[in-house]
Symmetry: C2
Subunit: 306 residues, 2 copies
């Protein structure tokens, strides 16, 4: 077995990616969720996105949520932006870690933003400059990196070429999104290997969905390849838009539970995190798909009498 | 990465282990499920158990189910028995592959059968003789191999000692059950390594539950260690008795989906299997926890127009 990392950095994306794919909840509830997460020991939180409220009504109150949220020392908060207007809003709100997104699949990108992948990359080059000039970092999230629900397989060489371009344009980090849960250990190995062959030095973050049950197997594969940065969403917040009822994001507590049992540190207090998953269920009024939320960690024993 | 096996042998346990942990369904429905599974290409099916109907009413009609079921060429059918009376029934029904069970955890064994692990192993030694004299094979299933809901961690050395005993008593195969989903990649590696150090030659089968999301990560770890026999339950049939609402057995179609994408053969027709998972939902009237059932395989694309 490959030597596994001693610790990994989890970015909690429930407040943004999670809530963006749930029915809208009140501003007050969003602030409660964000603040509760900030107190779990997690070191990174994707807090909000600055998108047009007509496109994504769930994030219409991003400015207010962020203004009211506790900014806890030791937690890095990030925001996602779709364009320069969003970037200006994020910078004005005080964010210094900002994410932009493009789909590896041309069809998926056109469906999302009505333009091709290359055109989006041109925009992103300008966005990276804008962010750097303001002193912020820019992460390029590459959606559909492990497969596209319209096109099927996505060639790792195509994704690696997008990474080349992002690195050339100054991206500080790239993230690979398994947008509809098409990732498997084979796909993870193929993509990470292809990217490392060409851009060995760019920091890499992986974002898995558990749509087909493979999220933790994919995470394990990535660990064996030395990847140490992962997104996850408390309770598994964030449905899967392409498969009603299917689970979406990897639940943070499922990732942390497995990692801790493997002796890999995350700085996160698992019990506190499970309490936040319970809160997320209460706030969304939806049964969330997390097994560790339902059953508790493996260390939670049943009384043997009675 | 370790060289992975080219093919694995899946034993479908939905008709027995699955249905035993669901609300009872009619005999006719059990036969339909069993026959549909026999036509998926799967090579092994755990068909029924011969247990006392007061203990497990779900299996009260085991004789009739088996009598009416199609016995498809190329499929090996097995039955689980709790004692010599059950073994006699299984042999009389024509089974030649028979499973017996013991819990690695003494507390769990006492809760199940009101006797300690060692006493159960004494019984099993006699059962193995009885089965062998009748020309049948005997598999010893070791429950709570990766943790006990009452005792917590189970020492791999304790499980390996149980394997020693079973091998000495003539067991043809041992199976390790992750009864309440406490397995993680670390636990799988620890147990398989401990067993191989002492009993390298005994065939090994692994039975994972997805209670905490780790089933496919555990399966991946076992593949890396060269294990090639796994249980799985169509649709994830079989709730988790210790955690109401939690998922139980690893869904066969989730296992097959990941294995096939990794280029590992199972002989199973995935599309046919998913149809049987749909049938299992219809027959139980319960929403089953399988992601591949919900979302379809990663190769099932969405139309990009409209």
């Amino acid at each position: 077995m490959a030597e596994l990392p001693k610790s990994v950095s989890i970015r909690e994306v429930g407040p943004r990616d999670g809530l963006q794919n749930e029915d809208p909840i009140p501003t007050e509830a969003k602030v409660r969720l964000l603040d509760a997460l900030s107190r779990t020991g997690v070191r990174r939180i994707e807090a909000v996105s600055f998108v047009h409220p007509r496109a994504i009504p769930q994030m219409a109150d991003a400015d207010e949520v962020w203004q009211r949220a506790a900014k806890v020392d030791g937690v890095r908060y990030s925001a996602l932006v779709p364009n320069s207007k969003g970037a200006q809003r994020a910078l004005a709100a005080g964010f210094t870690e900002i994410e932009v997104v493009v789909s590896a699949s041309d069809t998926h990108n056109r469906r999302n933003v009505n333009r091709g992948t290359d055109e989006s990359l041109d925009d992103i080059a300008e966005l990276i400059d804008l962010l750097h000039q303001a002193g912020a970092t820019a992460e390029v999230i590459i959606a559909t990196s492990f497969g596209c629900p319209y096109e099927g397989d996505v060639d790792p060489a195509r994704v690696a070429a997008i990474v080349d371009r992002a690195v050339r344009d100054g991206a500080d980090r790239v993230a690979f999104g398994d947008t509809t849960g098409m990732g498997t250990p084979r796909r993870v190995r193929g993509l990470i290997t292809a990217v490392r062959d060409r851009d060995a030095d760019i920091p890499v973050l992986l974002h898995f969905h558990n749509t087909r049950g493979t999220a933790l197997a994919n995470l394990l594969t990535a660990l064996e390849l030395g990847v140490t940065e992962f997104d996850a969403s408390v309770g598994g917040l964030g449905g899967c838009p392409y498969a009603p009822g299917a689970s979406g994001n990897l639940a943070t507590e499922e990732a942390v539970h497995m990692l801790h049992d493997m002796g890999i540190d995350t700085d996160i207090d698992l019990d506190a995190l499970i309490e936040v998953a319970e809160l997320a269920e209460e706030l969304t009024g939806r049964r969330l798909p997390s097994g560790v939320l339902r059953a508790g960690p493996r260390t939670r024993l049943t009384a043997s009498s009675g």
